[in-house]
């Protein structure tokens, strides 16, 4: 991974935000905890939530980019089509959020995919399954933290696409079952997951080399 030109370039990007933004950015990174910042200043709430989403989308985009750069053994044409579409969606989500955040965007995150075997279909699709379901639950749980209705609408437009991804990945993993309908993730009331940032970030943390040093620049 370290030799990958795209990911290496990501690593050297310099943090250029203002001091105030560092507080918010720090708040969404795994070793910190978003809730304190949100509770301390609701005015920063939407920026914090968007940066939180931006962090997750960066993670997903980097993951699928790597998946397509080093396809696992035996990737079928259909699988490649699906994974390519998902990659492009995640990149579009990432770029959308980055643009919406403008100068308040957190820096490019450095990822850690050391535990993923990109040559293994099971490892790749299993990770995709984790990321997509985590994304769905993260957006569902973050909706209530969003103040601006336009941002809520944007998050809504993204979360259902993440749910569509989750179904497609589930079908690849467990075709011919109820998995694609959400079995295993949808509860007895027909409800999908909804997790707080505090619950989501520890699950994402193993895949992100927390750029703590960048935060202190």
């Amino acid at each position: 991974m370290a030799n990958d030109p795209i990911l290496s370039r990501r690593n050297v990007l310099k943090w250029s935000g203002a001091a105030a933004t560092v507080v918010v950015a720090g708040a969404v990174l795994p070793n910190f905890g978003i809730t304190a910042a949100l509770a301390a200043d609701l005015g920063a709430g939407d920026i914090g939530v968007l940066n939180y989403a931006y962090a997750l989308e960066q993670l997903e985009a980097a993951f699928y980019t790597q998946v397509l750069q080093t396809p696992y053994a035996g990737m079928t044409g259909d699988e490649q089509t699906i994974l390519t579409a998902i990659r492009d969606h995640e990149i579009a989500h990432r770029d959308f959020l980055k643009k919406a955040l403008g100068h308040s965007a957190i820096p490019d995150l450095e990822v850690n995919f050391g535990k993923i075997n990109f040559n293994s279909r099971k490892s790749v699709l299993g990770t995709a399954d984790v990321f997509e379901n985590l994304g769905v639950a993260a957006y569902n749980g973050a909706g209530k933290l969003i103040q601006k209705v336009d941002y809520l609408a944007a998050a809504g437009s993204i979360v259902s696409v993440e749910a569509r991804h989750a179904a497609a990945i589930a079908e690849l993993l467990h075709g011919g079952s109820a998995a694609a309908a959400g079995a295993g993730h949808v509860d007895g009331h027909g409800l999908d997951g909804a997790l707080s940032p505090k619950q989501v970030l520890p699950k994402a943390a193993p895949f992100i080399k927390t750029p703590v040093t960048a935060m202190s620049l």
């Binding site: 920026i47 919406a100 209530k144």
Partner: protein, 219 residues
């Protein structure tokens, strides 16, 4: 506005800062009252029983939930009939549709429970849409086409109503239903030769757009 809030907003684009400030003001003006009524409960049934027990649900919320309930009735009835029709669904997809049907039935129960006496009755349905889909329950492709249509419609409908629930606890529940409908849509669309999605961003539909699309199936 606090000093620290000003400081944060100073770091972003001026027009974005302005719109954040003004939209927050609008949101409080519009939803402030609702936000005061409901706070912690996430589960819809709890929201109705605890947060809204004193005066019932605000009319705006009743309208949204009844709108959602109408769509859920439609979906639940559709899958009940489809899952109960022998020979319609190929063995490979029976577990899928059985689960989708169970979710829709659960959504009906959840929304009815939240609305209580304010819940609308189940509409009379015509899944052939006046004969246009005469083989809805004898041709799996037609059944799956209607299923995908209803699911995509449900996704767009919930998405279109999210703004009307902003600031109140039922928003989370609505979002939790919304993403389940999206899973369903993505699971069914490939059965009629479509990708699970149209694009990177799903588009919302207004209430009128949704009702126009659903009306042919309401008898």
């Amino acid at each position: 506005m606090s000093n620290s809030e000003n400081f944060i907003l100073d770091t972003i684009e001026p027009e974005v800062a302005d719109s954040i400030v003004s939209s927050r003001r609008d949101a409080f003006a519009k939803y402030g009252k609702l936000a005061l009524i409901g706070s912690a409960p996430i589960v819809l049934a709890m929201a109705s029983k605890e947060a809204f027990a004193a005066g019932g649900l605000p009319q705006q919320v009743v309208d949204v939930l009844n709108f959602a309930l109408t769509l859920e009735y439609l979906e639940a009835a559709f899958y009940k009939k489809g899952n109960g029709t022998k020979g319609l669904i190929p063995a490979r997809y029976r577990a899928l549709f059985k689960t989708i049907g169970a979710h829709e039935t659960a959504h009906v129960a959840l929304l009815k429970g939240a609305l209580g006496a304010a819940a609308v009755a189940a509409p009379a349905v015509d899944f052939t849409a006046g004969g246009k889909y005469a083989d809805a329950f004898s041709n799996f492709q037609t059944f799956a086409t209607l299923s995908a249509t209803f699911e995509d419609l449900g996704v767009a409908a919930y998405k279109g109503q999210a703004g009307n629930l902003a600031g109140i606890p039922v928003l989370t529940t609505a979002l939790q239903i919304h993403s389940v409908e999206a899973r369903h849509a993505s699971a069914v669309r490939p059965l009629i030769g479509k990708a699970g999605w149209d694009d990177a961003f799903d588009k919302p539909k207004t209430k009128n757009e949704v009702l126009a699309a659903a009306t042919p199936f309401l008898a």
